[in-house]
């Protein structure tokens, strides 16, 4: 197991190397003169600490733009490995500082959405599977499908229209109310929590369908297995069949999948955060992407790639841990 993990880790590093290379090439091929424009813009910004020539030299040296793609990449990689990710062009602070400022909002949002999703989707999926072809089953299936098929921006717009515009319960966007500064610490917490409600609902709606379908499919598979038929034949009560024999076996793929999504809680919800102006890592990176903030984008994409690879690894390891029949090699 340890050997397998080590091997997978080494392999992930290799993949990461190439993934970042592809992303670097994309960044490197920004239209010609882009760095110059960026340097001019940065130098003319109010409060700029460096002149145009300094910015240009700085940017070129930092990202190896004046050298070839491969050498530039290696220079960037060398800096990154040493933890030197550079200063964000948009946020005017070191990339890691901006990361710290934003990632915890994203994590809070993601975690609550994740818990709600589990609490709603898994029971519904199991119920649907138990009563296959019933009204509940059809209803759940259709609802799940609708949730999967709705674009995030449409869900967000509908929610804003109903709850912000028509009912006026929540603000349209942002994370703080107008009188935020006048509130006590607990009041501030409640204020931010209130602004997180609509994004949270959006996230739950768009992600609930997949988990519901996944649970239902796996439950159906388990319910048609021989050992369930055997248990029923032996006269085991239906409750025990479902809760002990069936659910425990459905648990394996569920744990595997959910475990794999755990690292994703840190990656932020790019579209949702942007639509609701939640200052999480997703919104920060969206802003950086549209304004070509190369240091922050490189950092964010590296971060997401690492999370993806980590998710795959966790998923595989959990699979082996939860199912004794599986052996890793």
């Amino acid at each position: 197991m340890l050997k397998y993990t080590a091997k997978r880790l080494a392999y992930s590093v290799l993949i990461l190397f190439f993934v970042m290379f592809i992303i670097y090439v994309l960044m490197y091929n920004m239209p010609s003169g882009f760095v110059e424009t960026k340097a001019r813009e940065l130098a003319s910004r109010p409060g700029a600490t460096k002149s145009y020539a300094e910015w240009l030299a700085d940017l070129n040296a930092q990202y190896g733009m004046d050298k070839g793609v491969v050498r530039g990449y290696l220079i960037w990689l060398g800096n990154a490995v040493r933890g030197n990710w550079g200063d964000s062009w948009v946020w005017n602070v070191p990339v890691t500082v901006e990361f710290h400022n934003t990632v915890w909002y994203s994590f809070a949002l993601g975690l609550v959405a994740f818990i709600l999703e589990i609490l709603i989707a898994i029971p519904l999926g199991i119920t649907a599977a138990r009563k296959q072809y019933s009204f509940t089953d059809y209803f759940t299936t259709v609802v799940a499908m609708v949730c999967i098929s709705m674009p995030t921006f449409f869900v967000a717009t509908v929610l804003k229209y109903i709850f912000s515009v028509k009912l006026g319960w929540f603000d349209l966007s942002g994370m703080q109310g107008r009188n935020y500064m006048a509130l006590s610490d607990f009041g501030k917490f409640l204020d931010v929590a209130k602004h997180f409600v609509l994004p949270l609902i959006t996230l739950v709606i768009i992600s609930i369908g997949g988990l519901m379908r996944y649970t239902r499919t796996n439950m159906l598979e388990v319910l048609s297995a021989d050992y369930i038929r055997t248990a029923r034949a032996k006269g085991v009560p239906e409750r025990t069949v479902i809760n002990r024999h069936a659910f425990r076996n459905t648990f394996i793929p569920l744990v595997t999948m959910l475990g794999g999504t755990l690292p994703g809680l840190f990656s932020g919800a790019l579209i949702t955060e942007t639509l609701f102006s939640i200052r999480g890592i997703g919104f920060a990176s969206y802003t950086s992407m549209t304004q070509a903030d190369i240091p922050f984008i490189m950092f964010y994409l590296a971060f997401i790639s690492i999370l993806t690879l980590l998710g795959n690894l966790i998923s595989d390891l959990l699979y082996a841990a939860a199912d004794p029949r599986v052996r890793l090699s």
Partner: protein
Amino acid sequence: MSNKGYSLNEVLKARKAAGQDRQPQGDEVKLDDLSRVKVLSPGRQVFKRFIRNRLAVFGSVTLILMFLFSFVGPLFYPYGQKQIFYKYEPRNVDYGMVKENTAYSGFDVEGGATVERTVNNRMNSIIKNMLSAGVDVDYVQGDEKAYRIEKLADDVYLASAADMQEVCYYGSGEAEIGTYSMVGKKLDYVRDPVEGLEDAVRAAIASDAKGGTFELDGVKYTYTRGKAKSYAITASFDGVQYVDAPMDAGFEAALDAEIHLDGTGFAYNGEDFALAKDGGTWHAYRLVEPRQAKVYSRLTNSTYEAGAAVSPALNLNALLATATGGSFEADGQSWTLSKAEGGWLVRDAAGNEFMEMTPFSVRRYDGADTMEYGLKKALTEKAQEMAAADARTGTLTYALPMQTETGEYVVDEAGNVSTQETELTLNRSQTGEYVVNCQQIIYVINMFDAPSGEHILGTDGDGFDVFARIMYGGRVSLMVGFVVVFLETFLGVIMGGLSGYYGGWVDMLIMRLVDIFYCLPYMPIMIIIGALMDAMRMDTYIRLIVMMAALGIMGWASVARLVRGQILTLREQEFMVATEATGIRVKDRIFHHLVPNIMPQLIVQATMGMGSVILTESTLSFLGLGVKHPLATWGTIINSVSSASAMQHYAFIWIPVGLLICMTVIAFNFVGDGLRDAYDPKAKR
């Protein structure tokens, strides 16, 4: 019997043709009799299972409707996606303005002298100084000439130019003469030496060594003791010093009076003299033969007949005539000028009123001078009245040309323009102008029109028909879905096929590539590419192509993995051994024997993929990073009304479009699900 093989259906058909399918009456049909067996081909089995699935059928019908709507609908719908709609609407427009001219404009006198540019530029302030000082004649020195500015009448001034000749200078002042050194007993002059001065200085120092004054030839000298035993000598002068021939005492009196007034010039004995001050000294110049140069006026001509031309000569002569009034000649005709209220009235030879000259200018904002005299007069009077009362707003009613609903002027049988009483509002602006507002029917873009019979879903912020845009948007969205899915399936089948069939290092290489593409963050990269295309200001059609290519390249990995997995299991089966044994070419083995066997999975994957590609495309377009205006897609239509206020007021635009996106994606997913179940009934259910 065909040589293709044994087919139960064909056996049954042959029997039926031979009339053998009917059993003789009375005989019992055996349970396994061939006539009781109905065999379906695999394709028909799949179809039968598929149509039994209600959701799948719903999805299929929805998709067919959506395709008809998007691809056939525009053929029957009268409007295009980029057609802008206009309408006529009564609006309160800035009709014109009334302004009291404050600036004087100059008109050259025919055959007269020219005015230097620097003087010409200063003329407005010179005239204003004359006004505030209450003088009628003023003199100005330019670099080359001197000018006499004379008031002809209120608001009309005449500038004449003349050569300058210095007459005298006048004043009291001091001039440094030089330094007298006790050591060298010598006077060092800084100016021309004065005869006898050295001796006079010496005598003065001898009488009083501290310093003092003495006179020599009527000039007063002062000597003061400085450092190193030296004296600074200065001369004082006072009174008139003539350059040429001296003038008489009357001149000196006039000069004296003018200097006391701190004036700019005076007339004496039929001649004009300009004064210039240089430090404490005044210089008087004679204006030699002044010639008329330019007339400055702030009067505006308003002709009685709208749009009648006023020639420059008429304008100039009329202005010159303001000094005396009465008749004058211009353009070979004789005209009469008379004083009118607030200005001057010009009549032609026949005694008809031709034009009025007032300091008020009234004009239309559109530049065309289509205002008739009566309206100009009424507006001017109103403005004067408001100025007198210091009112900010005022209204008057006047018969303006009548407009039809399409904004055209109504003309009666006699060819005269019909009029309509219209209320005009005058507002004084910060700059002192009076802006005239009134209701006019004008041609505007039909923005955010609510749904009506003409526009089923109304119009959007650019005056486009929303329903037409939804149709064309559907075209783009569905087309993007098809192209991208085709591209990713094509790439995926080739890569997966090669990988699964060959195994070994090819498999190794391709699978590592798949791993890398799996790891690439999909949405961020699309956003970056979108921002990049923004920076390059790419054409919207090229954007569309780039976006489709990028989506296809990003999505092939999952197809490749699926194909490889299937091929790995199929490769071991007997029919593949057979293809190898019979020596079929590798290309045919992969694409004729393996790929058709994975077709079901591919079709399911492609159908589901279509939905997700449409979602991605609409999200990107919504963010403004995909397809751009004026090309319509469902995402851009929603984006155009995504601001808070637009969202609130124009729900009739974004709700139908959002529902269409949902319906399409749901339909693709239902069909995909249905197909999967139909192909492989045992798999999940």
